[in-house]
Each structure stands twice: as structure tokens, then as C-alpha cells.
Point group: C2
Chain length 476, copies 2
């Protein structure tokens, strides 16, 4: 239940009241639920009947709970209880992108987060060993010193070592620890882009969703189509010639949402274009560690001449952590750290300590190896049954946690997504990841959530039958 | 020492080598230190003599350690060991503000962080009970779900309740959890200021230091003198009339660096000016909870009509956490959360869990009460001996962890700060906190670090004698 703290100056009755309000507001205790009996709670907490009754009666007076004579005390509906509108209701439905991203980031909003970017908690449970973590945290907190603005030296060193295993030669002084890969990119954007500058992004790309969020940003976004083996180089050169972007943002390995990887030949050409037209590259490698096929990153070809390499641990280690980093050309380290200090001073020493230990202990690699294998297996399974059920996968080889599937043209995808939403299933349409209309019939599936019996039933009920004839025609 | 992980795919010899490099790069093992003997380490780790010898010889080949026949293996100087330039050396001395802030944020850079903004770790040790924290973290990590972008509902609820105790009526839906108070302010800036807009700040102010960091920011900073009882209202109205700022940033209670608090009458006038000239106020209340004198915040007067209230837990709870929040007018919640998602998606669920528990349990209030008392005692002590030693405190009543002291005019403050630096004592000159030249002879003292015998000796040796005659003249 909850504890009371006798060393606190807060009155016992207030402590009890406050603990109950927290449980109700955080939805641990839901509307209509019966509270513990006065007698049971007073016994459990070792306080008088009078104290518990006073707390309950205060809550009744505040319309947070009600007393039903002979039956006990019950939680009132949250609205009536004076709790206020939740953020989700504050974000108007018109604000599609923010609302989508907000929900996508909060898995508790859905029973089946089919299009989520996160992995199931159970798949990550082995990564950070509980017994060790408790000890680490105790030490960190009792030291109570902040993390240096660039990140702790121990963490920067172990990240540099891990990168060398990927044939990326960054020194620890080139590593800037951030609050996740997204944060790394937002700091780089601030350092590299002046008002009016152009940022080149792939289409589709999960980053378009994030960039669409802010309408009043002071730089311009242009796109290049993402093909099977990387960006469309011809289109890219044309865009670069026309707009002279300062930055190109790309995911070399396991591109989100398509799951494709940039071929070495394509990667080499990207670097040549960067040299020829003098732009920098941000290589987002958030999922690369799960790649079972190709492993060449632009950062290892380029050696931090023009490449900012960003990655993080929230996806493959734990979303409860917010920790990522940028490995950058030496000339930009200082400005990036300045930006970080300007933005939030420094990161969480607690998160840094946990990740440092995990990387140092060798557990991380072990965890990744098992995870990659599991993703590959679930991926094959999901692709097979989704394909049979009528989802079309355009024939490129892909990797990682995402399947980028297309529904037959006669399918009403908006309706499907609404039906899914009503069934507490989270599906993200392709239009969120694209500025073109080419992906309106696409869905991003996360294979680690897909192979669920309930979702199979949903897809078979809402996709398979209607679209079967069309699929047959298509594959003929 | 360190552990090896037999389930890892990493070779034992590599694990040993890697663990040693980490210890050397993180300065746990320092130059000249003797490594454990091959025999001792092999026994301790349960690996063969051959494995340890291989690891050591690899490190010798890499010039990270050296072998002295008959004596053992020793850590080479880090430079020689191929470790790379540290960030601190990457920041040129000319870049005073960034370098200062970087060092100020990393207490390990000095033995005596006299001008630091942080409290001694030992003073915070009781706040977050180690036994409980370990359990909390284990649960959070094993759940492995990200924090919602606005912060967890439980944390937002308990913050709203804490604010009501301060007579600040914010609902939980008005609370946006951030990665510290600085982060809260940076998000508010992005939401509220367009390019060319004016931000009004007090002079002196710690925020000037932070704002000076970024030369290419796209808004303008103007200042108003901070007097004993708050901003100089006449000067403020003149500045407001002339520049029409969109935001006014202020610290009502325990202003940093002066330690003064805004009087209720002054606070009321600030709000009247905001109404008259249509600007918003950011009230930074990072130290307010330590106030022993006055407790009226603008947010409680204003009721979130024009006030953005920001605070955090890194200072008074633990700098190892990065956790703060903004309580804002309802109309701005959505845009603030959007900015947060754009900046870093969401915060650390681990940090949020720890703070939620601490606030809920009543420990927080207990901790704050003890802390305030201790700060008050140390403050009186520090003010007394520093005053006798020749530091001048202009006669306003002040509160909190900072003393804003002035040295007699003939003192060469630059030299004093350099002497302090050489003695590994961190002193921050007034010029860092001001755009005027009025505070060139000031130093910000943190009373929680001041009453140290070594620092007394330093001050007596370098300040007292020279300035004594001058002080006498001054007080005459």
C-alpha cells in the first residue's frame, strides 16, 4: 500500500490524505474502487482509527472520495474529484503531430503499441542487472555531485572504446553526452544551422514527424527520397545544388521507418557530395546496433571530417533512461557543450552511472547480441503473417524492429487507424513520416509488438478479407 | 577492484584491459600508481596468469602502463598514455564564460568550491534514502517504460500539491517536468521569444552568465538593476517603455547572487507593470525553499495569469539528479510540451521516480527544514568572519546559500582569483554575473563551503592584511 514517515513534520493525517490523492490522480486507484477499510488501514499503518477516519472525511469533503454507509469509502470520478484536464485533452485533435508523438511516447496509452518505437519492457529486462543498479545508484546519490557538462569522463571513455569496436575512431574528447539521441540532434541543429539555412532530410523519415512539430523553427527543411539502398543520389545532388543545405540528416543502418540500410557505395557517394558541396552530415545510428546485415557507418568512412555521429541507449537498453551522445568533429565539441549548458546545464549523473557500468561490464554487448537475434526471428514471423493477411511489403531487404507495410489502395487507412485506436491498438500511418503523399497507405509496424494474438485477430478482421482480391491481382 | 563477466562474448583479456583503461582515463588509477601484481589479479578474478599478463603487456605496448622489472606495472602519465585532450583544454581561455560555467558545474575541478552553486554532498545525504532508492530504481528499470513527455502524472500531482502548500494554485495539468530549472527556462524562452524580442533580466544575475554563453542567440537581453528589495522599479518601467520586452526573468526569493528577496510591495508593482505593458514573468524559485524570512512568490499573487514559475531539485535534493519543472498558464502547456519533445522527447523516468518518492514520503520537507536551519547557521558564521577579514557586505538583509561580498577597491581581484585557482579554490568574480562594471570587486561566496579552515587561511593571507586600513576608512 503506502508507508508513513514518522520522522516527517507532516501530520499523519496529511500524509495519509496525500498518499491517497497521489494514487487517485496517478490512476493507481481508479474511479469506483473501494478504499481499504478504516480499520484495515489503521492497523496496517499502525495509526489510530481516528487518524484514518479524519483523512477519509477530509477527502469526502473535497469530493475526492465518497462514503457509502455500510459499504465503505469509494473513489469518485477523477473529474468530480477536482483533478484537472490531462495534457492529452489539452492538445487539440487538430494538432495531429504533437498529439501523435505525445501518445507514441507514452506506451500506457495503448494496450498494443504496434507502431511504437520502443521495445517490450521484458525484452530489456536483462540489460541492466537490478542487484548492481541499486548499489550504483546508492553510490551516485550519496556522492551527490553533478555530471560534468560534456558527460562523465568514464562514460565518454567507454563510449569511445565501444565506437572503436565499430571501426569508428573517436577519442573520448570528441564525445558529448546528451539526454538521448534526439537531444544530440537538437544541439547540433542549434550549432550548425543559422536562420534561413536548409536541412536536408530523407523522405520518409521519423524525423519529419518531429520536425513538423515546430512550425516557427528558423531553418528550412528539404527532402530527398529514401530508396532501398539509401538516399536517391541523383535527386540528392539536384536538391543540394539548388538549396545548398548546411546539414544532411540520415540513418545509415536500419532507417526508420523503412528498415533499409545505406549500401557502402551509396554511403561513399554521400560523402563525396558532402565534400563537393561543403555540407555536414548527421548520422543517426540509434538502431544500428541491431543490424544483422550491414555494419558500415559513414562515421567510419569519414573519420569525423564531415560527420556528426549520434546514438543513444533509450531504445536498446531502457526507455526509463534518457541517455545518448554525439561523436563530433573536434572543432565543434566546444560549441556543442556550450549549447548543452545553455539548454540544460548538464545531464543526470544517475543515468550516466548506470549506462557506464552496463557498457563497461560487457553486459551491453551480450544483451545486444541476444536482442538482435530475437528481433530477427520476430521480424520474419511478423512479415510472413502480415503479408498473408494482405499487408504489402515492397521487395527490399530490411532489418531491425520496423516493417514498413503498405495497404491495398481500396483500404480506408484512416478508418483502420481509428478502429485500432478504439481497440486500444496504436497504429501510425505513413503520412506522419513523409512530406509527400507517397506513403499515405503505409503503416510502420514494430515487429517486437506485432506477433500478438489479439493484433492478428484485429488485422484478419479488418484487413485480410477486403484486400485479399486486390492483393492477388497485385502479385499476378 | 573490478569484475569480469564470463557470460560476455568479450574475451577475458579484453575485459581486463578495458576495465584498466577505464580506471586510468577516469582518474581512479592515477599516474605513477602501481597496478595489482599479475598473481594477485589473476587470483582475484579467477583467471590464468597468462590472461592477466597478456592484458598488461597489451597495455604496455599501447604506452598506457609501463613495466619496471622487479617492481611491477605502473600507470603512465595520461598524456603519454594516448588519452586525448580533455574538454577543458579544448575550451580556449578566451572563452571565459563557457570555461567558467563548465568548471563551476564540475566540483571535482577544485578542492574548495567556494563560489559553487552546489551544496556539499554530505548536506544532501539524508534526502534520498539509499535503501529505498535502490528498490525504486530496480522497479523503474525493470518496467522500462519511458516517462510521458510532460512528466509522469504521479510526479506532476505531487508537485502541484507541494505548490499548494506554498499558496501557489497550480493544477497538475499545468506542470511540465523538465531536465532542471535551466531547462525549463530554455523551453519557455523558445516558446515566448521570437527573433528580435527583448528579454529583461536583473543585474546582477547568475542568468547573465548563462545568457552570455550564446553569442548568436536570436533575442535581445536588457537589464534592470537589482536592489535590496527587488528590481529597481523606476528603471524597470523606463526599460519596459523603451524596449517593450516580452519576458521578465526574476528570482523573487533568495536572488542569485545577492541573496536578497523581493518585497511583497515590489512584487505587486512588478505584476502591475506586466499588466500595464503586457509582458510575461518567469519566476525562478530554485532556492526559495531555503528562505527563512519571506515566502511570498509572484505566482501566488498572480495565479498564473502572467507568471511562469520554475523550480527544480538539483540544488536542494541532489545534483546527481537533473529534474525541474515549470508551472505555467494553461494556454502555454501544450507549446511547452511540444518544445520539450522537439528538444529531447521526454525526461528520465529514473530521476522522476526518485523525486516522486522523495516528495511523496514527506522526507523532502523534513530535509528542507533541516537544511534551511543549517544554511542559516553557516551563513551567519561566514558573514561574520569574512567581514572581519575585510570582505564588505553592503547592508541589505539577505538569505540562502550565497553571500555577495565586495573587496576594497585597492585589491586586485583578478590576482586573488588566480591565487585561489592555484590553491585549487574556486572563486567567481562579480563581473561574471553582471553586464555593468558595478560588480567588478564582488565575489559570490557559497556559505555552505566557506567555513573551511583552509579557506580562512587563504583569505587571511591574501585579503585581510592589505585591505584592513581601507575597510576601516570605509566603515568610518
Amino acid at each position: 500500500m503506502f508507508e508513513i514517515d514518522r520522522s516527517s513534520k507532516m501530520l499523519l493525517v496529511d500524509q495519509i490524505r496525500s498518499a491517497i490523492i497521489t494514487r487517485i490522480e496517478s490512476l493507481q486507484w481508479v474511479q469506483g474502487g473501494r478504499l481499504p477499510s478504516v480499520r484495515a488501514l489503521s492497523k496496517q499503518l499502525g495509526v489510530s482509527i481516528f487518524t484514518v477516519t479524519s483523512a477519509y472525511e477530509d477527502l469526502v469533503a473535497q469530493h475526492i472520495i465518497e462514503s457509502r454507509p455500510g459499504a465503505g469509502y469509494f473513489v469518485l470520478p477523477v473529474k468530480q474529484a477536482g483533478a484537472l484536464k490531462e495534457l492529452d485533452s489539452l492538445i487539440p485533435p487538430s494538432s495531429l503531430h504533437a498529439g501523435f508523438l505525445y501518445r507514441a511516447l507514452d506506451p500506457s496509452q495503448y494496450d498494443l503499441p504496434i507502431s511504437s518505437g520502443y521495445l517490450p519492457p521484458a525484452w530489456l529486462a536483462d540489460a541492466v542487472p537490478p542487484s548492481v543498479t541499486g548499489r550504483l545508484i546508492r553510490n551516485t546519490l550519496s556522492c551527490s555531485v553533478p555530471a560534468p557538462a560534456a558527460g562523465s569522463q568514464a562514460l565518454r571513455s567507454v563510449i569511445a572504446r565501444k565506437l572503436r569496436e565499430l571501426h569508428i575512431n573517436a577519442s573520448s574528447s570528441q564525445i558529448v553526452v546528451t539526454s538521448g539521441a534526439t537531444h544530440a540532434f537538437s544541439l547540433i541543429r542549434k550549432v550548425m544551422l543559422k536562420p534561413g539555412d536548409y536541412l536536408l532530410v530523407e523522405d520518409p523519415s521519423y524525423l519529419l514527424l518531429q520536425l513538423k512539430l515546430i512550425k516557427d523553427r528558423d531553418f528550412n527543411i528539404i527532402t530527398v527520397p529514401r530508396l532501398n539502398d539509401g538516399p536517391d543520389l541523383e535527386a540528392m545532388e539536384a536538391m543540394v545544388l539548388k538549396y545548398r543545405p548546411k546539414l544532411f540528416l540520415t540513418q545509415t543502418l536500419i532507417h526508420n521507418p523503412t528498415g533499409g540500410s545505406t549500401s557502402p557505395a551509396n554511403g561513399y557517394k554521400i560523402l563525396s557530395l558532402a565534400d563537393k558541396y561543403d555540407f555536414h552530415i548527421v548520422e543517426d545510428d540509434i538502431f544500428g546496433s541491431l543490424s544483422s546485415q550491414q555494419t558500415l557507418r559513414l562515421a567510419s568512412l569519414d573519420g569525423f571530417n564531415r560527420t556528426f555521429y549520434i546514438s543513444g541507449f533509450s531504445k536498446v537498453l531502457s526507455p526509463a533512461l534518457r541517455l545518448g551522445y554525439a561523436a563530433v568533429p573536434p572543432a565543434f565539441v566546444e560549441r556543442l557543450v556550450e549549447q548543452k549548458m545553455y539548454n540544460l546545464l548538464c545531464g543526470s549523473a544517475i543515468d550516466e552511472t548506470i549506462v557506464t557500468y552496463t557498457l563497461e561490464s560487457g553486459r551491453y554487448q551480450h544483451h545486444l547480441d541476444a536482442l538482435s537475434l530475437r528481433v530477427m526471428q520476430e521480424r520474419a514471423k511478423a512479415r510472413e503473417w502480415l503479408g498473408k493477411a494482405g499487408v504489402i511489403f515492397d521487395g527490399h531487404s530490411a532489418d531491425g524492429i520496423f516493417l514498413w507495410g503498405r495497404l491495398a489502395e481500396q483500404m480506408d487507412i484512416r478508418r483502420l487507424i481509428e478502429q485500432a485506436h478504439d481497440a486500444r491498438i496504436f497504429l501510425a500511418p505513413g503520412s506522419l513520416f513523409s512530406n509527400s503523399r507517397h506513403y499515405d497507405q503505409h503503416i510502420r509496424f514494430n515487429v517486437t509488438h506485432c506477433n500478438d494474438a489479439e493484433f492478428r485477430r484485429f488485422i484478419h478482421a479488418h484487413v485480410a478479407v477486403d484486400s485479399a482480391p486486390r492483393i492477388a491481382a497485385h502479385s499476378a
